[in-house]
Symmetry: C2
């Protein structure tokens, strides 16, 4: 009898995706379906596609019961905004679902919303509804944020547009997020807008599960392999290579561009974002000659028994 822990998150999503029915009758057209940071839908708005995203935080998995509520709220919204940034877009409206035990303090929920509103306001998102539900006593709280966003039709970036020979770049520094950054990170919304407006970004995603898991996903979606120069990986202070690769929750942008684009991009970047590193860490290869990074180097997988 197979359990979720036997197959892991990626396999589970793959199973589900194949079962999805495609056939909306609203006159909308799904441009990008499951498997990317957001779904992309043509809803008939001139020049723009709609982005759809849902993301949840589970107590005991993504945060601890003793974590200050406002920080949890910030994180819940910031993760969704990071996914809009990963597509080259920006947020529109958000809906918030809170499922928690009835003995939770009202003050805690107030704190959650304070953090969510602060993050939404900082990034131009609008919380316009949601719902609350109880869970049985002793069950973990689940906070889920669903949102719409927008992206210019000519500028949206997926995980699957990478090409053999592209250089692989990453914003910021990796590793050690668990020491606090995962609760107050700044989604790379401004950087993403700048990138897609100025350059032809071939593929992009945000780093949520660690480079060691996320780069193989991007490469696979682009039907490529990859080579990385491990010495080049920008690490946060006090982090070794395996932490930079595997800790996860970096919420930095991982992107690929042509070599020609990369030269100009790196020059212009340092003027536009002097305080934020942008580092070339490797390249996309054909599938046969890439390295086998996944698994061995860690990274976070839901349902996997071998986390860590």
């Amino acid at each position: 009898m197979k359990r979720l822990s036997d197959i892991g998150e990626d396999s589970l999503i793959e199973r589900l995706v194949h079962r999805l029915d495609r056939g909306g009758e609203s006159g909308d057209r799904v441009v990008v379906g499951p498997g990317d940071d957001c779904a992309v839908v043509d809803v008939g708005r001139p020049g723009l596609y709609q982005l759809l995203k849902t993301d949840s935080l589970v107590e005991g998995v993504h945060y601890l019961a003793e974590t200050p509520a406002a920080k949890v709220g910030w994180k819940a919204v910031a993760r969704v905004i990071s996914d809009f940034a990963a597509m080259g877009g920006w947020p529109g409206q958000l809906l918030v679902t809170i499922a928690m035990p009835a003995d939770k303090e009202v003050r805690y929920v107030d704190g959650l919303y304070r953090g969510m509103n602060k993050c939404a306001a900082a990034y131009g998102a609008e919380i316009c509804g949601g719902e609350t539900s109880s869970v049985p006593d002793g069950s973990a709280a689940v906070i889920s944020v669903a949102g719409t966003g927008w992206v210019k039709k000519s500028r949206y970036v997926t995980r699957s547009g990478g090409q053999v020979g592209d250089l692989v770049l990453v914003t910021g520094k990796l590793g050690g997020s668990i020491k606090g950054k995962h609760l107050n990170f700044l989604p790379r919304l401004e950087a993403s807008r700048w990138l897609v407006d100025q350059f032809r970004i071939r593929s992009m995603m945000d780093l949520s599960d660690g480079l060691a898991r996320d780069l193989p996903r991007l490469a696979m979606a682009s039907d490529c392999g990859f080579l990385i120069d491990k010495k080049m990986i920008p690490r946060n202070r006090g982090c070794d290579l395996s932490q930079a690769l595997g800790d996860g929750e970096d919420y930095e942008l991982l992107l690929t561009v042509s070599r020609r684009t990369a030269a100009k991009l790196c020059r212009d970047w340092s003027h536009a974002f002097p305080a934020l590193p942008l580092t070339v860490i490797g390249e996309l290869t054909d599938k046969a000659s890439g390295e086998a990074l996944p698994g061995q180097l860690g990274g976070w997988s839901h349902f996997s028994a071998s986390n860590g």
Copy 2:
């Protein structure tokens, strides 16, 4: 120290709504914010508003661990479609969030998706993504469905449009949903479309928590009181009045129309939907002269210690 169980679901939502920031920068305009069945957003699509909705099912609250997975999946999607119907609209795209323990059988998740896809396909909705997450062992599973829908700008119906003197009508029969109907109910999508296309429906909602809780909500949103004729309330076989009022999960439409509209509506209805009752159960009054129905007659409230 106040806990969620001390204040109940309605008060909680009211607290949160007052804290919500309004100020999206996407050029969209929120037409109806929190507190109705869906949020309504003007996204610049000619003739149509977008509807936004999120709704979750919690194991042990909305269904049992031993409930067949496909039925749980049907219910999860059908509840969201019922909310689109409640506004006079129809569904577009759906995103599915599944948070469950890693020891859940893969077969169970397959069944969930089978049920969700069946319901989505039956009502013209399109599942275009979502995410999966683990919850700590022993925690209740949470299934959340977020969706976009559409409604004609000239036809959307809220809870707040009722007027003194309106007649109050309900589709179908009430009570006893727990015996099975709550798992395989048919959202009143077709009936709702017919109603809003043919008639001026002043206010509408779907009955999820029982008439005894939901009618006061509609009346309050419309700044009215209400009088109902308890003998007129259509009951499912084997249900007494208190069950018809308080069981909840009926997923029928509750609506109000002017007296003049009601006469023609009831005649035409029986030709259009011969198998589905539509019953006048009362009227909206001014606030001072209505009856005090809530509380005493039951109905389901999350977080309330006095459910039953």
